[in-house]
């Protein structure tokens, strides 16, 4: 449980950070909640760590043009406790509050979580339901990609060498929307066996808008468009919800591990999707 030697830099601004990362063998350190354990087990042995913790402004959470922009080094605690996020993007606050334990939420960051791309991480379900965008920066410039473009596979993202996540951009939730994140917790790690995020809006007694994201089930989180289509336009009755949630696992290549077999995960994805939808509907006005 002892890492190999490494260089450590803690630049104070983004430009310096990106310049250090452009060099090649450097790796970003954010909260260290995923990276440090890997280094201790010697499953990762970066030569150079560039700590983003002191980069000015990278932690900020702000509202801009109908979106909330969350800096990469905002911690899970910053997000769950931010009045702005709680008020205007409550789904993300709920997801953040479900991560790990207090210590992990105090240290772990949103950028680190998404860059690490653990298939059982909580945020991606919400990011997909929110149709989030990821603002990426490198010494060469910037680009913004959709969350679906960003998440490539288990532990694999669209980040190129030298690039960092700079911001996550999510929409401001309309006041009448209802949201919910429901998670089956892996009892050892606290990660999601499955997690489902739902956003709904109602209009004239019908479900007018549905977004569902699912994490933990497969190698990468996905948006359950089949569920969305089935529920949209219905009255959102318990039967409608069950019927829609029943297709969430269709076509999914489910993970299997010590804590849940593939077939059980497929079942639980339906249960938690139904629970998320039910709660979101009850919260929508």
């Amino acid at each position: 449980m002892i890492p190999q030697n490494f260089e450590y830099s803690a630049p104070g601004n983004l430009r310096d950070a990106l310049a250090l990362l452009a060099g090649g063998n450097a790796k970003v350190l954010a909260g260290g909640m995923s990276l440090i354990p890997l280094m201790k087990l010697r499953l990762a042995a970066p030569e150079h760590l560039v700590d983003l913790g002191r980069v000015a402004d990278l932690k900020s959470i702000r509202e801009e043009g109908g979106t909330i922009r969350i800096g990469a080094t905002a911690t899970h605690y910053d997000i769950e406790s931010s009045p702005l996020v709680r008020g205007k993007c409550p789904l993300l606050a709920e997801a953040a509050s479900n991560i790990g334990d207090v210590q992990v939420r105090n240290m772990g960051t949103i950028g680190g979580s998404i860059a690490h791309a653990d298939p059982a991480a909580d945020y991606p379900a919400s990011f997909l339901a929110l149709e989030a965008q990821v603002r990426i920066a490198s010494a060469k410039g910037e680009r913004t990609v959709t969350i679906e473009q960003f998440l490539v596979d288990a532990l694999t993202t669209a980040l190129e060498p030298g690039e960092i996540v700079r911001e996550i951009i999510v929409p401001v939730e309309p006041a009448n929307a209802g949201v919910s994140y429901q998670k089956m917790v892996q009892p050892a790690s606290g990660f999601a066996i499955v997690g489902a995020a739902a956003r709904v809006r109602k209009s004239g007694g019908k479900v007018a808008f549905v977004r569902v994201g699912v994490t933990g089930l497969a190698a990468k989180a996905f948006r359950a468009t089949g569920v969305e289509k089935l529920l949209e336009g219905t009255s959102g009755s318990p039967a409608d919800v069950q019927k829609a949630a029943a297709v969430v696992s269709d076509g999914a290549d489910a993970n299997t591990d010590l804590h849940a077999s593939a077939s059980y995960r497929l079942q639980m994805a339906k249960v938690y999707t139904a629970r998320a939808l039910t709660q979101a509907l009850s919260r929508a006005s």
Partner: protein, 777 residues
């Protein structure tokens, strides 16, 4: 000479906060890893990545060449060091030679192969990566039943049947009992392998002073004196040249009731390199190389009459031993057999144990050590019998309990239960949950589709280990009590408390006996150069055996106090009370400080009395103590997910007289949490290749605070007649009582689906399968 100021308040029985807490909660306590010494080196251990393999060759040269590396040792360097000891003896026991480093073969994942010593821990870890070991992997077997099957890979090639021992015990006439039975219920019941997971992993600092030929070992252990005796033998060092110090110990739960390869290895290294050396176990090493607990596959049969009267009990117990015997490995299942009748009048019992070698780390004592398995077995069987007879499980238990007038009670397994009133805690627990109303609520809940269950466990345990003839290393405990010249009191206990709180309970006892404030007393332990020989803390013996030793040492001391008091007061009739010696006729008194001062100054001595104010007592208990109790769990299974919610947890424990209710609560809570861990979450999983799949806390689920229900803890009090304090022991009770109560509640919740038994851990997926496949897992 002053008149008496009597200290009337007694401390025994009060909820007194722990004396040891300030240093623990302010982070100022010293654990092994806090020890730093000039010139100290650091060791890291290379461990087998295979469950079984031959070692063809080891190349340590590249590691030796790394700057900062002081030495690298392998199996052939330590041939002079004696084997890791097994303290248990059973007839015909096969004891594989257990060298401190593997030589030409490894037997389990994590088996130590080489040690690197370097100027810092990082260099030592880097050097490990440079050692090249050429392994020839061999087939492994990690499941004890598979290990017994014909053609299974042999863990030790010399014993192809993988059988370390067979053990038979019988009482009464089980054959007739089963012949005459009106009903027989049978069940295979497992108690899965668990990882003790003490918060502090093991660690050793060794310092050798060559001019004095003296070695000091700082080790996170439960048994400093036994460790000294055994490690000195391993190293061929005079015992009085070895000093063992246990600084703060961050939890043991039995996993540090042992002598480990690393303890001797660090002594060896320190003697070789002439520098202090530190080794701190990583969490991964802790999971792979510190003993595991449980590991039973049990086949039970109960014979009974239709009216519920139990007649006979038959057990075939398959114990997964792992690849070696650690200190007590083969003895643990014999405790299960001793306690298999539980609290019931089984007059006819028979048990056969097969001890099985597997390519896993050894099993050994883990909180409860053999008794949780036994209690789980008998308490599950009582519920199976109740279900078979359509009897209420509480009623069945009440019918078969040993009566309160039958103590001491000789069991069919050869024990003598000291005292008991088994119906009382059960009745109290039934009242607390309002049992009849609860059963009605359950009926309604089930009718509406909810899966609500009520589970009862009534446990008895053997603790306060124990009379010396019944233990491998002596079952007594020692205490020295000194009054310093200033009147302050020092208690030295041979038990080595490590979280149980005896620095407080023993101080309470001493303060009451002498009538001094608790802050005048300190309790010292865990240093073989300071404290008289002792046995240690395990088997719920600290207070139940160590406490009486303190008590009797105090009585000896009081005799001497009285002699000096009589001399100073020029009288012949005195009482020790309120920190004074009081002349019963005049009321005049002298303080303990005056008495102690006089005893050390020794201007004048009472007749036939030596100077000084010190008394030592080695107390041999006449019997074990047998605590008991009843736990009731109300649980609900989520039909959609299989998740278990514990809605109520009621624990009524009888541990005899209670010295400090706050500490007893703590022991019950901690014990119950570990029982919940076994019932619901924990299992050490090896795959068929011998890899430990649950190799870290990200996969091995111990309960966290948010996963633990409110525990309603209360007591009945049946003093033990075996010691003057009337105490029993409570360190393991919670764990022992818990798991069957939880499993019984969940089986009860699913009983209408045809579910009769569920093996632990009861994971949501397992329960979901039972619910959705009509009771078939």
């Amino acid at each position: 000479m002053a008149t008496t100021i009597t200290k009337t308040e007694t401390l025994v029985g009060k909820r007194i906060r722990r004396q040891e807490d300030p240093r623990l909660i302010t982070g100022t306590a010293t654990y092994v890893d806090d020890i730093k010494m000039p010139g100290m080196h650091h060791a890291c251990i290379l461990r087998s990545p295979h469950g079984a393999a031959k070692i063809r060759s080891i190349d340590i040269k590249p590691a030796q060449d790394l700057p900062g590396v002081a030495a690298v040792f392998t199996g052939k360097d330590v041939e002079g060091v004696g084997p890791v000891p097994c303290g248990a003896s059973l007839p015909g026991l096969r004891v594989p030679p257990h060298a401190i480093l593997a030589k030409d073969r490894v037997y389990f994942i994590g088996h130590p192969v080489a040690v690197v010593v370097a100027t810092d821990r990082y260099i030592a870890a880097d050097a490990l990566d440079l050692i090249e070991v050429d392994y020839e992997p061999l087939p492994t077997v990690t499941d004890p039943e598979k290990a017994l099957a014909a053609g299974a890979p042999a863990v030790h090639p010399e014993w192809p049947d993988n059988t370390a021992f067979l053990y038979h015990q019988e009482g009464g006439d089980p054959e007739t009992a089963f012949k005459e039975a009106e009903v027989v219920v049978k069940q295979r019941i497992t108690s899965q392998r668990l990882i003790p997971t003490a918060m502090e992993t093991r660690g050793v600092v060794a310092e050798y002073r060559s001019a004095e030929k003296s070695l000091t070992l700082y080790s996170s252990t439960q048994i400093p004196h036994l460790l000294r005796t055994l490690v000195s033998q391993m190293l061929g060092l005079a015992e009085n040249h070895l000093r063992v110090i246990t600084p703060e110990v961050g939890g043991g739960f039995g996993s540090k009731l042992n002598v480990y390869a690393e303890e001797a290895l660090m002594g060896f290294v320190a003697m070789k390199i002439g520098k202090p050396v530190k080794w701190i176990e990583s969490r991964r090493e802790n999971f792979q190389c510190t003993i595991h607990g449980r590991g039973h596959v049990d086949y039970y049969e109960v014979a009974a009459k239709r009216d519920g009267t139990v007649l006979g009990l038959r057990l075939k117990l398959i114990q997964d031993l792992g690849a070696y015997h650690q200190l007590l490995t083969p003895a643990i299942p014999t405790l299960s057999v001793l306690m298999m009748p539980g609290l019931y009048k089984f007059r006819n019992v028979t048990a056969d144990i097969v001890g099985v070698f597997t390519n896993c780390v050894p099993t050994d004592a883990y909180r409860g050590a053999g008794r949780p398995e036994a209690t789980h077995g008998i308490e599950r069987m009582m519920d199976l019998l109740a279900a078979e007879l359509k009897m209420d499980p509480a009623e069945l238990r009440l019918k078969n309990f040993i009566g309160k007038d039958e103590f001491p009670y000789a069991t069919a397994t050869g024990l003598s239960y000291d005292s008991g009133n088994y119906a009382e805690p059960l009745k109290k627990a039934l009242d607390l949950v309002d049992y009849h109303k609860l059963r009605q609520e359950q009926k309604q809940a089930k009718a509406s589709g909810r899966l609500l269950g009520v589970g009862i466990s009534t446990y008895g345990e053997i603790c306060a280990f124990g009379p010396s003839p019944a233990t491998p290393a002596g079952g007594w405990e020692s205490a020295t009590v000194k009054i310093e010249p200033s009147g302050k009191v020092t208690v030295m206990t041979g038990a080595s408390p490590h979280g149980q709180g005896e620095e407080t309970t023993f101080a309470q006892i001493a303060a009451d006996e002498l009538g001094v404030p608790i802050d005048d007393v300190i309790v010292v332990h865990g240093d073989t150069a300071v404290v008289q020989y002792g046995i240690g803390t395990f088997g719920s013996r600290g207070t139940a055996v160590g406490g009486p030793a303190v008590y009797y040492a105090l009585q000896e001391l009081k005799k001497k106090i009285r002699k000096f008091g009589e001399m100073l007061l020029e009288t012949t009739d005195v009482t020790v009370s309120g920190g004074q010696c009081v002349d019963n006729r005049t009321g005049k008194s002298v303080s303990l400080a005056q008495i102690a001062g006089a005893s050390y100054r020794a201007m004048k001595l009472p007749p036939n009395t030596e100077p000084g104010m010190v008394a030592t007592y080695f107390w041999e208990p006449p019997n074990f103590a047998f605590p008991f109790g009843a736990h009731i769990v109300v649980s609900e299974v989520d039909r959609e997910t299989g998740h278990v919610e514990i809605k109520r947890y009621v624990a009524v424990d009888d541990c005899g007289n209670i010295i400090n209710p706050l500490l007893v609560d703590g022991q019950v809570h901690g014990g119950v949490v570990q029982g919940l861990g076994q019932a619901l979450y924990e299992q050490a999983v090896y795959d068929d290749d011998g890899q430990l799949i649950t190799g870290e806390l990200m996969d091995y689920a111990i309960p966290k605070a948010s996963m633990v229900p409110w525990i309603e803890s209360s007591h009945t009090i049946t003093p033990s007649p075996v010691n003057p304090l009337g105490v029993k022991g409570v360190g393991e009770a919670g764990t022992i009582g818990c798991s069957p109560a939880v499993v019984n509640s969940v089986v009860d919740a699913l009983s209408h689906l045809g579910v009769k038994h569920i093996d632990m851990p009861m994971t949501p997926e397992k329960l979901w399968n039972l619910v959705h496949q009509g009771g078939q897992a």
